[in-house]
Symmetry: C2
C-alpha cells in the first residue's frame, strides 16, 4: 500500500475514528486503526464490535492495500508531524513508513485482513435530523443514563419514533429525562435502545450546524448514523424499554414557576454544602409566592430565598441537589415550571409545548 | 467580629492566601483561612508553617475580631455567592454567618487565637524585581527542581545575589538550569535556597506586569516577598548549595547553532516514540551542517533531519528527549547554541550574553 494525503486530512480522520477504539480489549487488533486503500478511496476504520466508525479521507492512492496501525500512537504522532503531505507506505511484512518533509517514521503495522469490518447493512428509510439537534438532545438527556450495569437498558437511551416525533428518553432509577423532537418527515413506528456510549461519541464528532444533517437508518440489531464522510454503526441494546408514560403524570397539587438562572445558582451554592458523598437534600419550602431553599450539612447551613409564582398548595419537599441542577442545566428556557403532588412523589419539570420533561424523585425528609 | 466587603474583593483575597493552605496536615486549624479584623484593616492569612501568605482586602469593619474558616469550603463558596456585598459576622461561639443578598450561610468557625501568625521580620535592604521577571524566572528554571526528597536542597532553587546580579539555579542530578538576572541596584552578597513550592505558588499569584514590582527581603531563615497588598513569608532551605561553576564548563569541541522551534517540534515527535517509562534516548548525529535526530523504541523508529551551523568536530550523542525539550521551552530565543565536548560529557545550551545556561547530562549510547 502507498498513499499520500495532507496531514490535516489524516489528523481529522484519525480523530473521528479514534472514538471507536476500545481502551481495553483482549483483541489487540482492535486497538488499531485500519487504513483501507483497497478500493479507489482511502477509508479509516475503527471498531470495538459495539460501535464501528468509518470515514473517508482525501488523498492519492499510489498502490492499493490495507494496513492496521496502533491507534494511540498513530493519533498522537499524526498531530505532531508537520502540516504538510504525508506518504504512508507498507512493505510485505506490514512494516509501515510514514514520511513527512524530513521526518521518517517506521512502525510495525498489522495485517488488515482479520480486522473486523463494519457490518454492511441495508440503508433504507433514512430518518434525517440536524447535527445540532442530535448534539443538543444528547447533552440534554445523557447525564441521566445510569453508570452502573445493573440493568443494561439503563446504560442506553430510548429512541422512540412515531409519526413525525422522535422521543428520546434516559433514566437511572432516580430520574427520567425526556425530549420530544419534531422531525421534518413521517417515520415508521419503532422503538430502539441506543447505547449511551454511542451517542456520547457521536456528539463529540458531529458539528453544531443546524443545516447539516445526520441520516439515521434502523436495522434489526443496529442503528447507522451517516454524516459528512463518516458512517457510525452501533449495536442496539436488546429489550423492551421501561414504560415511562405512567411515571410522568400530568396531575399536580403544586405548580411553581421560577427564574431558572437564579434557581440554578442557588442550588449550585447549596451543593458546596453537600460535598463528598454526604448526600444531604436541598429542601424547598414553598409558601405563598416564595420558595425558601435550605440545606444543612457537616459544613453548616444555607438558606436562600427565591421569588416564585405558585399555583396550588404550599409544600415542603427535598431533593438531591445534583439531580435538580443537571435537569436545569439541560433546559435552555429562562423560566421553568415545576409540578409536584406531595413530599413523596416525583417532581416534573416540563414546558407547555411538551418539548421536554424532567422527572426527579424526592429524598425523604422529616416534615414537622 | 462583623465585616462587610465586596464578593470580588473577598474572592481575590481568598484565592491568593489559599496557596498557603496545606493539603494534608495534622493540625486542622491550618486548613483554615484566618480573617483578622482586629485592627483597622481586614487581613486574610493562611500558613502551612513553611510558607505563609497574608493579604489585605478592602471592606468595612463594624466590629473588630478574628475568626478562622475552613479554607476549601470558604474558597468554593465565595466564588458561588452573588457578585454583591457580603456581611461576615461571628458570635461568641465562633459560629459565622455570611449574608449576601438573600443567601444566608452559617458555618462553625474556629477561634483565631491559636492560628499561627506569619513571623514579623525586619524589612530592610529591599531587593526589587519586576513581577514579570520573577514569574518568568520561575517558569524558566523550576521544571528542573527534583521531585524526590533524597536531597532537600534539590527541592529548592538557589538565589545567589552578588553585585547587581541575581543568579537563579535549579538542578535535579540530571540537569542544571541557570538564569542570570540583572537588577537595578547593587545588593549585598548572599546565597539562599528558596523552596520550589514557594516559588511556584508566588508565580501563580503575581501578575505579568513589567512595571509592578516584587520587593524581596532576606532574613536569617526566611525570605519575604511583598507585592500589591500581599506578603509571602517563606522559610529558607538550610545548607550550602552545590558548587555549580565547575559543572558549567565553557570548553567545547562541538558547537551547534540550530533553529529552536524546528528542534523542539522534532524532539516532541520523538517523545511520542519513547512513552511509558521506556526512556529511549534521542540520538543526535552531528555531521557537517546537518544534525540527524533518531530514536528507536518498541513502537518503531524515527529519523529527522535538521539544518545546523556547526563549529568543531562531528559528534554522536544521546539524551533523554524530555530534558532537552524542557530546556528549549524555557528559552525564548529563535536560535539556540549547544556546546558539547564528547559523547559522555554534558551538553550546555547557553547564550552569548550569559543570561541563561542549561546543562544536560547525556545518556550512554553505543557508538559504533
Amino acid at each position: 500500500m502507498k498513499i499520500i494525503c495532507a496531514q490535516s486530512e489524516l489528523a481529522k480522520g484519525v480523530d473521528i475514528v479514534s472514538k471507536a477504539v476500545p481502551t481495553r480489549t483482549s483483541m489487540t487488533l482492535l486497538e488499531c486503526i485500519l487504513i483501507d486503500a483497497s478500493t479507489n478511496e482511502i477509508h479509516l476504520i475503527a471498531n470495538d464490535t459495539e460501535i464501528g466508525i468509518e470515514t473517508v479521507i482525501e488523498g492519492t492512492i499510489e498502490e492499493r492495500g490495507v494496513v492496521a496501525i496502533e491507534a494511540k500512537w498513530f493519533s498522537e504522532m499524526i498531530r505532531k508531524i508537520p502540516d504538510s503531505f504525508v506518504t504512508i507506505e507498507t512493505d510485505n511484512t506490514h512494516l509501515t513508513t510514514l514520511t513527512c518533509e524530513k521526518t521518517e517514521l517506521k512502525v510495525p503495522g498489522k495485517s488488515g485482513e482479520e480486522f473486523p469490518r463494519i457490518p454492511v447493512l441495508p440503508m433504507t428509510n433514512a430518518i434525517d435530523i440536524s447535527q445540532l439537534t442530535l448534539k443538543d438532545v444528547v447533552r440534554q438527556t445523557s447525564f441521566s443514563i445510569s453508570n452502573g450495569d445493573n440493568n443494561k437498558m439503563m446504560t442506553g437511551e430510548l429512541f422512540d419514533f412515531k409519526d413525525d416525533i422522535l422521543k428520546v428518553v434516559a433514566l437511572d432509577g432516580n430520574r427520567i429525562s425526556i425530549r420530544n423532537i419534531k422531525l421534518d418527515q413521517q417515520v415508521n413506528e419503532r422503538k430502539v435502545i441506543v447505547p449511551g456510549k454511542t451517542l456520547k461519541e457521536i456528539a463529540k464528532i458531529i458539528g453544531s450546524s443546524a443545516e447539516e444533517k445526520v441520516r439515521m437508518f434502523l436495522n434489526e440489531n443496529h442503528i447507522v448514523f451517516q454524516f459528512n464522510e463518516t458512517t457510525v454503526v452501533s449495536r442496539l441494546i436488546e429489550g423492551n424499554y421501561f414504560r415511562i408514560d405512567q411515571m410522568v403524570s400530568s396531575d399536580y397539587d403544586t405548580k411553581v414557576k421560577v427564574n431558572k438562572k437564579s434557581m440554578l445558582e442557588s442550588i449550585d451554592r447549596a451543593s458546596v454544602m453537600s460535598k463528598e458523598g454526604d448526600k444531604r437534600p436541598i429542601v424547598f419550602n414553598i409558601e405563598g409566592n416564595n420558595m425558601l431553599l435550605s440545606i444543612e450539612s457537616v459544613f453548616g447551613s444555607m438558606n436562600d430565598d427565591l421569588e416564585v409564582v405558585k399555583e396550588g398548595k404550599d409544600l415542603i419537599i427535598g431533593f438531591n441537589p445534583k439531580y435538580i441542577m443537571e435537569a436545569l442545566r439541560a433546559i435552555d428556557d429562562e423560566e421553568v415550571s415545576l409540578y409536584m403532588v406531595n413530599t413523596k412523589s416525583p417532581c416534573v419539570i416540563r414546558d407547555d409545548a411538551d418539548t421536554y420533561a424532567y422527572v426527579i424523585l424526592p429524598i425523604n425528609i422529616n416534615v414537622n
